[in-house]
């Protein structure tokens, strides 16, 4: 994986940022937890971190972990920017759907993150089931309020 990242970096005229995914299950005999894995691969490649706060919430919720504990262990100074998205509970799991509203827990996590270190920018991801413009603007405003960045609406 490090070799693949280096290969991409060598061909790209811009810095590369890596985004950890939302996963519903873990590899059975994994040797590193998420924070160790990310720190190691960022150190080995010099890549930046594209942190998806909704993924942090989803993983912590589905593993029964504390999401703020992960924030405390990630190299927040390496964040290029942040993704935020909505999701929904279904069948006992939280699904990072990008087609539902951003839940309060994810906004709380944005607040937690920005209280530790405010990233340069945040992006609201929405891939379908688009709500009326006023609702979307409301989500962007809530993101601005939670992050301390100026409103963009």
């Amino acid at each position: 994986m490090v070799a693949n990242v280096r290969l991409a970096q060598a061909e790209l005229p811009v810095p590369l940022a890596l985004e950890p995914i939302a996963a519903l299950f873990d590899w059975p005999d994994d040797e590193l937890d998420e924070a160790d894995f990310l720190t190691e691969i960022l150190d080995a490649t010099g890549a930046l971190l594209l942190l998806d706060v909704a993924n942090v919430h989803a993983n912590a919720r589905n593993r029964g972990d504390d999401p703020t504990a992960l924030l405390d262990r990630l190299p927040l100074e390496r964040i290029a920017y942040v993704h935020v998205a909505g999701g929904a509970e279904a069948g006992g799991f939280y699904h990072d759907t990008h087609t539902d509203p951003v839940p309060a827990e994810v906004l709380d996590l944005v607040r937690e993150l920005c209280g530790r270190r405010r990233p340069p920018a945040l992006l609201l991801e929405r891939d379908g089931h688009y709500p009326p413009a006023a609702e979307l603007r409301g989500e962007l405003d809530a993101l601005s309020t939670a992050s301390g960045h100026p409103a963009v609406t």
Partner: protein, 148 residues
């Protein structure tokens, strides 16, 4: 990546998208949840390729698609939607909007159900579920809508 890890990853992918058995060590319920989530993602992608078929089925679309697609590895969204539309037609449950979309696709392309569809070079007429579509020089026109 070691060959062993690659083989185990391939087993996991097969379990998630091709009806393969759950590889040892994985928690069954979370893997099943991921498998169902991938089926729903497929439903969304096929709906983008077959918007009238999905709209015709309305709220039933995700269930109709995932029931059909379960244990059936994808052949790409264009073919998946085409195969499903033909099956619904044969079962007599293809909604009018879906029949019109299928008629248009059948007039525009030749699809044998096994390999990628190819555009028809010659003019063609297609009838599906009461809908009639004609294709001339690559342009498709619905001649008769499906009965409502």
């Amino acid at each position: 990546m070691s060959g062993d890890l690659a083989a185990r990853q391939a087993e996991l992918v097969a379990a998630l998208v091709a009806g393969g058995p759950l590889p040892p060590g994985f928690a069954p319920a979370p893997v099943e949840a991921a498998r169902r989530a991938l089926l729903r993602k497929r439903a969304g992608d096929v709906a983008r390729h077959w918007p009238l078929l999905a709209a015709g089925l309305g709220a039933a679309w995700p269930t109709v698609f995932t029931d059909w697609a379960d244990r059936r590895p994808t052949n790409g969204s264009l073919r998946d939607g085409w195969d499903l539309a033909r099956e619904l037609r044969d079962r007599g449950t293809l909604p009018p909007l879906g029949a019109e979309e299928l008629a248009g696709r059948e007039a525009a392309g030749r699809y044998d159900g096994r390999t990628a569809p190819r555009p028809r070079r010659l003019p063609a007429l297609a009838r599906t579920g009461g809908a009639v579509a004609v294709q001339l020089a690559g342009r498709v026109r619905l001649l008769r809508p499906a009965p409502r």
